[in-house]
């Protein structure tokens, strides 16, 4: 691979001039410019980002932290992130933490090492203490999961309200025993969605029954399957279920199809693309995932430029499908 020196020699100019052509500096005569461009063509030259970045101390790389790439919820957000980043001449370094703390350190170091200019974290399991430390020196944006009262800017949806509306929908349909399938309450979204669930029940004078609330160990389909099996053991079975993610809801739906003698309404959360392929199709809360990704990148780039950014709460929408039309 040719370097800038060779181009300079070939074009009979100095490296400074080549650099100027590369960076579209206007103080280059068109004759010189074309000589240089010709040399670039001939030697198939592409400037080394390493050299450039070292000099500019920027990498134009953004780190995206997420617990697992397999969850379709993240895929959609990443689509938005990726497109917006590229449009702004940035690239994405995708970092799966697998919820393992040792992984985090590697990634935090990459930022400290200037290998990335900023971070978007979508990982609810992240060590917020360390992240806040990092934030003192580097731009960070939280996407979806955030820290209440924290100082790192975020883009998210109103989980409490969305959950409230979802459960209210179930209540209006005549359900009085509504189960909640949720994950560990160390996660903010889980606490918020539970709060919304309880608010709806209380508003309609329905009791909050602990035996109808199941905490899963993860967000895979299988966790939803297991949760629903347990809930079906109850003497007084639920007539409806609200799950804090579509993946859990889909697992629940599967069990209901196979094992329940009575119909049970189900509402999920996220509106992943699978959710319209299930049988019955899944009623769910649609999060603007793609948009959330776009906003996160825009906020991060602003932060990198030194512009202060405001938190953003995006609109959600309850998508009513067959799983609540029974």
């Amino acid at each position: 691979m040719a370097n800038i020196q060779q181009i300079a020699k070939r074009a009979g100019v100095s490296v400074a001039t080549v650099s100027r052509v590369l960076n579209n500096s206007n103080s280059v005569s068109s004759k010189t410019r074309s000589k240089v461009e010709e040399a670039i063509q001939e030697l198939k030259y592409a400037p080394s980002m390493l050299g450039r970045n070292l000099r500019n101390s920027e990498s134009r790389l953004l780190l995206v932290l997420l617990p697992s790439i397999s969850n379709p919820f993240y895929s959609e957000i990443i689509n938005g992130i990726q497109n917006t980043a590229i449009a702004n001449d940035y690239h994405i370094l995708l970092c799966e933490t697998d919820s393992k703390p040792e992984r985090e350190n590697i990634y935090f170091n990459m930022v400290k090492n200037k290998l990335a200019d900023g971070v978007i974290s979508m990982d609810p399991t992240i060590n917020m203490k360390k992240l806040n430390e990092l934030y003192e020196e580097h731009p960070i944006i939280l996407c979806s999961e955030y820290e209440e009262g924290g100082c790192i800017p975020y883009v998210t949806v109103d989980s409490e309200l969305a959950a409230y509306q979802a459960v209210k929908h179930l209540i209006k349909l005549g359900n009085e025993r509504i189960a909640l399938i949720t994950s560990d309450e160390k996660f903010l979204y889980a606490r918020q969605r539970r709060a919304g669930y309880e608010r709806a029940l209380e508003e309609f004078g329905l009791p909050v029954r602990e035996n109808l609330i199941y905490h899963t160990k993860g967000l895979d389909f299988q966790n939803g399957v297991h949760a629903m099996r347990v809930l079906l053991q109850e003497d007084n079975k639920p007539t409806a279920v609200f799950a804090v993610s579509d993946t859990l809801a889909i697992g629940a739906l599967k069990v209901i199809n196979m094992e329940s003698t009575t119909p049970i309404a189900v509402v999920g959360f996220d509106n992943i693309s699978f959710s319209s392929m299930t049988n019955p199709t899944l009623t769910t809360v649609s999060q603007p995932m793609y948009n959330m990704g776009c906003h996160a990148v825009e906020m991060l780039i602003s932060s990198i430029k030194g512009v202060k950014v405001e938190n953003i709460v995006l609109e959600h929408e309850l998508i009513i499908r067959e799983s609540t039309m029974i």
Copy 2:
């Protein structure tokens, strides 16, 4: 962020010594070593990858090209890639081409620019001519989709054989009108799976009917939905369907559930995690996706080290579930 000079000054040694400590060179006295380590602690120093990489002309970053992150097939492979890469002190730069040629160029340049040490391509839509050009100068591994008779090493499965076995399974079940939902035949995997489909039919003396072969424009659920709708228009409806991906098969299943008056058996390809959540659960060809990712990285790292690597064809398996038990 402190740099190596400041550590040297603080520890009262030269930058070379600091570098030696950083790189675990053994020619450092333990006294000096601890002085340096102390300074590193105090100043919270982390070496700049940019400086290091520029000097070593390596980035320890690997590029992964894929058409779309939303397809669960890729997520699983990426899990394998990610884990193996990290175990070898490499990181992954995930690049979604969205099947857009202009995107490719950006990524190819990143490699030329030394921003990445090698490439794993899983993108069937990639410009093979350009990729082969790049291969002259940089390590590349093809994962899943490859080039027949090409020179770039690959890891894949035997698509033709797998398809043959899948269709044979349908025939043994008594099906004589078996439809094929496949994608564009510019993709090798599509041609191979079609070949397997035809071989099975021919072996059992069944005709290959063009009107039972549907070519989709993509691999989304919706493409499967559309394909199945068209196939159901046939006067002589198929009694079984083989789809070249689970996503297509799941779309087809949805239509069969909703619109078909007669049962139709379905076989997919990939064994994505959602395939056991459908109703009925999906019979499919299981590809060792995680393993494929691991192998791809191992091969790539070998290539980077200058070791010649052999192509790998991994084992597949037909997973029989409810969609062929009707």
